[in-house]
Amino acid sequence: MRWLDKIRLRVRSLFQKPAVDRELEEELRFHLERQIQGNIAAGMSPDEAFRAARIEFGAAPRFQEECREARGLTFLQDVARDARIALRTLRKNPGFAAVTILTLALVIGANSAIFSAIYTLVFRRLPYKDPNQLVAIWDSNRHTGVDHIPVMEGSYPILHDGAKQDIRIKFLGRILDALQQFGARDVFFADGELFAVG
């Protein structure tokens, strides 16, 4: 799991920065001490050995920085710096900043308004169990010209039970036929006769 280890390392570098820095310092200090020992073993006096190792080690802070860079820390620091520069630039050109922010606000507002409308109307499922079993039944009256008179709304199983129990709704049986036959969601009646399904 190479990528997992990578993420783990990066998170550690980011959130346990003092510990990581301390380890880096300890690692480099070990190197220095080992170098001094090596120099002494090669015949230098302790003073000489220390000086020689120290000279070689002169630029420690710089390459500590490079180690940090290698750990990918500076990426986030760079992002923070870019953000600061962006804010400063915006403050220097208030007119430009205002136009930009206004444009963004309008666009985002329009977008979210359209999206919430579309989402509610088209994408979101109805907040009922088995929403695809819901039906609406409409009647219309040709004499008065009134249509879309709601007869009943409910779920398919309720309608089905109603058909068995209540024969007073004379056309319920035909409604159910229409529903079954056409897979209809809306059933339109005109003057009590089946008129259209949708």
Partner: protein, 109 residues
């Protein structure tokens, strides 16, 4: 940026990985080994070594563990990971190809 060129940097990575193929080692010993094996021609300085080690660790080719050193001090030991071994084989092949090609060009005429 005062970074070494791409070739030098890539070469150092290769040398480090190759050294670690012999077993886990800490930074100082890696530098020492490269120097000895190359008859003191290659001297890896810490300023290049440690950033390279941390970069290799970051890339997942090597992993680091604290352990006891030969002089009884706590030292950070690096070792090759499985992915690192594979990467080393690939890089060795690349290097052989590259040096052979350069040899061919230099032998010209």
């Amino acid at each position: 940026m005062s970074k070494p060129t791409e070739l030098v940097q890539g070469t150092l990575d290769l040398l480090i990985l190759k050294t670690l193929q012999l077993g886990p080692s800490h930074g100082w010993a890696i530098a020492q080994r490269i120097r000895q094996v190359s008859n003191s021609v290659l001297r890896v300085n810490q300023g290049a070594l440690y950033p390279a080690l941390h970069r290799l660790e970051q890339q997942g080719w090597i992993k680091a563990e604290w352990g006891e050193s030969e002089n009884n001090r706590r030292a950070k030991y690096y070792s090759l990971t499985a992915a690192g071994k594979k990467f080393l084989h690939k890089e060795e092949a690349n290097w052989a190809r590259l040096s052979q090609a350069i040899g061919l060009v230099l032998d010209m005429a």
